[in-house]
Symmetry: C2
Subunit: 195 residues, 2 copies
C-alpha cells in the first residue's frame, strides 16, 4: 500500500516536472495536454488519474515556488545578522532557486497570469506580501546606515528584477557555478559597476 501511494506521488511529481519544462519552453497557453502527455509517454486522458486539471498543474507549480520564497524570507528575517548580510543571503537564495528549480521558477515568473481567477488573486497577495516585507528590510538597512539612501521601492524591484535573468541564462555548460555567480551579482548590486 505504501509503495502504491509512493508511486502515484512519483508520477505526479514527474508530470509537474515535465510540465514546468514544457511551460517554460512554449508557455502555458502554447502547451497542450497532449504535448505534455507525449513527453511523458502516455495518453492525455491518462494524466487525469494523477491530476485534476491543467490549471491545477500550473497552480501547484506557482504556489510551491511562491511558498518557498516566502518561507526563506521568514528565515532570513529571523536571523540575527546585519541587514546587509540578510540582503546578501537573499540574493544567494534567489540565484540558487533558479539554478536548482529553473523551470518552475521560470513558469512562476512568466505564466502566473494564467492562474484561475481566485488563485490568481491569492498569488498576487503572496507576491505583494513578499515585496512588502523585503522593502521593509531594505528600509531598515537604510535607517541603520548600512545602505545608501536610495528609494527603497526602486532598490527593491531593481534587486528582485536583476536576479531574474539567471533562470534564462544559466546552464551547467557555462562553466560558472552558483557560488561564483552569487558573488558576482552581489558585488555588482552592492558596490555598483562604476570604478
Amino acid at each position: 500500500m505504501a509503495t502504491l501511494t509512493k508511486n502515484k506521488t512519483e508520477k505526479l511529481d514527474q508530470i509537474l516536472k515535465e510540465a514546468a519544462k514544457l511551460f517554460r519552453q512554449k508557455g502555458f497557453g502554447g502547451t497542450s495536454m497532449r504535448d505534455l502527455a507525449a513527453q511523458l509517454g502516455m495518453e492525455a486522458a491518462s494524466m487525469y488519474y494523477h491530476i485534476g486539471s491543467k490549471d491545477e498543474i500550473l497552480e501547484k507549480i506557482c504556489f510551491e515556488v511562491a511558498n518557498n520564497y516566502l518561507e526563506h524570507l521568514e528565515e532570513i528575517e529571523a536571523q540575527k545578522t546585519i541587514h546587509i548580510d540578510k540582503l546578501k543571503e537573499l540574493i544567494r537564495f534567489h540565484v540558487r532557486m533558479m539554478i536548482v528549480n529553473g523551470p518552475e521558477v521560470s513558469v512562476t515568473n512568466h505564466d502566473w497570469k494564467y492562474l484561475t481567477k481566485e488563485k490568481l488573486a491569492t498569488f498576487k497577495e503572496l507576491r505583494k506580501l513578499y515585496e512588502t516585507r523585503l522593502e521593509t528590510l531594505i528600509s531598515a538597512g537604510i535607517e541603520a546606515g548600512e545602505l545608501a539612501e536610495v528609494n527603497p521601492q526602486v532598490a527593491l524591484f531593481t534587486i528582485l528584477s536583476s536576479l531574474r535573468w539567471v533562470e534564462y541564462w544559466w546552464k551547467p555548460q557555462r562553466g560558472i557555478g552558483a557560488k561564483e555567480l552569487e558573488n558576482n551579482i552581489i558585488t555588482l548590486l552592492l558596490k555598483g559597476i562604476e570604478k
Copy 2:
C-alpha cells in the same frame, strides 16, 4: 485617397495598441480574437480586413520593439562619449521605452515564445545581436578603466534584467517621473546600494 489609407493604418494601429494591452494583461494564449474584437467594439471577423492573422499581431509588436532597441543601441555606439555615459544613456532609453510603450515592451519580453517558428528564430537572433553588442560595450568600458573589473556577461544581464520591473511597476499615479526613475536606477547600478 490619402485619407483612406491613413484611416486603414489608424485602425491597424488601434488594433495593435489594444492587442498589446490585452496580451500584457492576460497573455497571448489567454487572449482570444473575440476578446480583442470586443475591446475594439467590433466583430472578430472584421479585424481580418486589417490584419492577416493573430500571429501577425504578435509579430508586429515584437519586431517593432526589438528594432527600436537595436536602432537606439546603434545610435549610442556612434556617439563620441565615454563608455560610462553610453551605459547611462542606454539605461535611460530602456526606462523611457517601458514608460512610453509599456504594453508593447511587456508583450515582447513575455510572449515572444509564441512567435511562429521562423519568426521566433529571427527574433532570437535579433536579441542575441543586441546582447552581444552591449557586452562588447561593457567590455570596452572595463578595458578603458571606466568600469570595475566584473564579468562582462554577468554585468550585461544584470543590467538588462534589472530594468525590466519598470514596465510592471510604473504608473503615472506613482508620482515618480521618468527622469527621477532613471537617475535612481543609474545610481543603484553604477554605484551600488552599499554605503
